[in-house]
């Protein structure tokens, strides 16, 4: 992790919203960098002081309406609502109820999960694990090159398909190379792109599924975008923020 990433993850770190791996990288850097350590310590102090003085504040009406709408659609459990009403301010109860409602709704959705979705989740987790391993083992590329005409032919003879390798440097995503990886019980192509200090792994292999739009998820703090196009399935994984990763996927998909 570098200085910019420490600043980028600073809020998520003090909110303990980073996954274990990123937290370790963050703390390793901070323990060795006096400048970043001073920034983190000062920011933690400021945050604690301001949070302690945070006034009771009514939620904006628009937001409270949204929470109410979610509540209705989630069919919030009346018992939980009654139990909490006595000791919580009303709108605070609403927001907590929304959280409970969301959990119930997600639970209901999970119950309806098809085998395909379970498999999809499993693949997403495998893709994230492969992404982390590629960074930890310092084995990001077998063929380090920014030239698509070097990376694409390198896969020839190593895989039973030819992955599409695009030059996206104009959009700010620089090709760093490619490597062989193993996912879904088969060898796959892993294309590596860079955005600032972030690495993006794109795992590609043939699929019989029909084309699908971009689907985004977050696992262990990593963003994952998945899509299927022209009988190829794509899984892009990175610690880059979700918006930019979606831009990347969109550019690759074009």
């Amino acid at each position: 992790m570098n200085h910019e990433q420490v600043r980028e993850f600073l809020d998520a770190y003090i909110d303990t919203e980073l996954d274990v791996v990123t937290t370790l990288h963050f703390e390793n850097h901070v323990s060795e960098c006096a400048e970043c350590r001073a920034i983190v310590e000062q920011y933690q102090q400021l945050h604690a002081c301001v949070k302690a003085q945070f006034p009771r504040f009514d939620l904006p009406v628009r937001l409270e309406d949204k929470i109410r709408t979610q509540l209705r659609s989630a069919q919030y459990d009346q018992r939980a609502r009654t139990a909490r009403r006595d000791w919580l301010p009303r709108w605070r109860a609403w927001s907590l109820a929304a959280s409970v409602g969301i959990v119930i709704a997600v639970g209901a959705l999970l119950l309806q999960t098809t085998n395909r979705q379970s498999r999809s989740q499993l693949l997403a987790e495998q893709a994230v694990s492969d992404h982390i391993r590629s960074l930890m083992a310092n084995h990001l590329t077998d063929v380090p090159s920014t030239d698509q005409h070097t990376v694409k032919p390198w896969f020839s003879g190593k895989l039973d398909f030819a992955p599409v390798v695009k030059d996206l440097s104009v959009a700010g995503f620089v090709l760093a190379g490619g490597r062989l990886d193993y996912l879904d019980d088969r060898p796959v192509a892993a294309l590596v792109y860079k955005r600032r200090q972030h690495s993006i792994n794109v795992f590609v292999w043939p699929s019989t599924a029909s084309d699908s739009g971009l689907r985004t998820t977050t696992i262990k703090g990593y963003n994952v975008v998945h899509w299927t196009q022209s009988h190829m399935t794509y899984w892009a994984v990175s610690d880059l923020n979700a918006v930019e990763l979606q831009e990347f996927a969109h550019d690759l998909e074009k």
Partner: protein, 84 residues
């Protein structure tokens, strides 16, 4: 120290009272105010905030970060957020 608040600015922020925090919050754009309330007052997780404001997790992270810097910048006597 480069890229963070000076000692006098940090003291102003640390010593801000509840009314000053309230005044600074009221000056913030609505989207900053609401995310700060959901996090600092409600202690909701990023995931819960993302579901409530209907934005991706990445947006929650970046918006909360900008909102805090803007708030602290105002408490330090400035009117704009500090990039650190």
């Amino acid at each position: 120290m480069i890229g963070t608040w000076s000692d006098p600015e940090a003291e102003l922020i640390k010593n801000a009272n509840s009314q000053q925090v309230r005044d600074a919050l009221e000056e913030l754009p609505l989207e900053y105010r609401e995310i700060l309330i959901l996090r600092e007052l409600e202690d909701l997780s990023y995931k819960e905030i993302a579901q409530i404001i209907e934005k991706p997790l990445g947006t929650v992270m970046s918006r909360l970060s900008r909102a805090r810097r803007e708030l602290y910048g105002r408490l330090a006597g400035g009117t704009t957020e500090r990039v650190i």
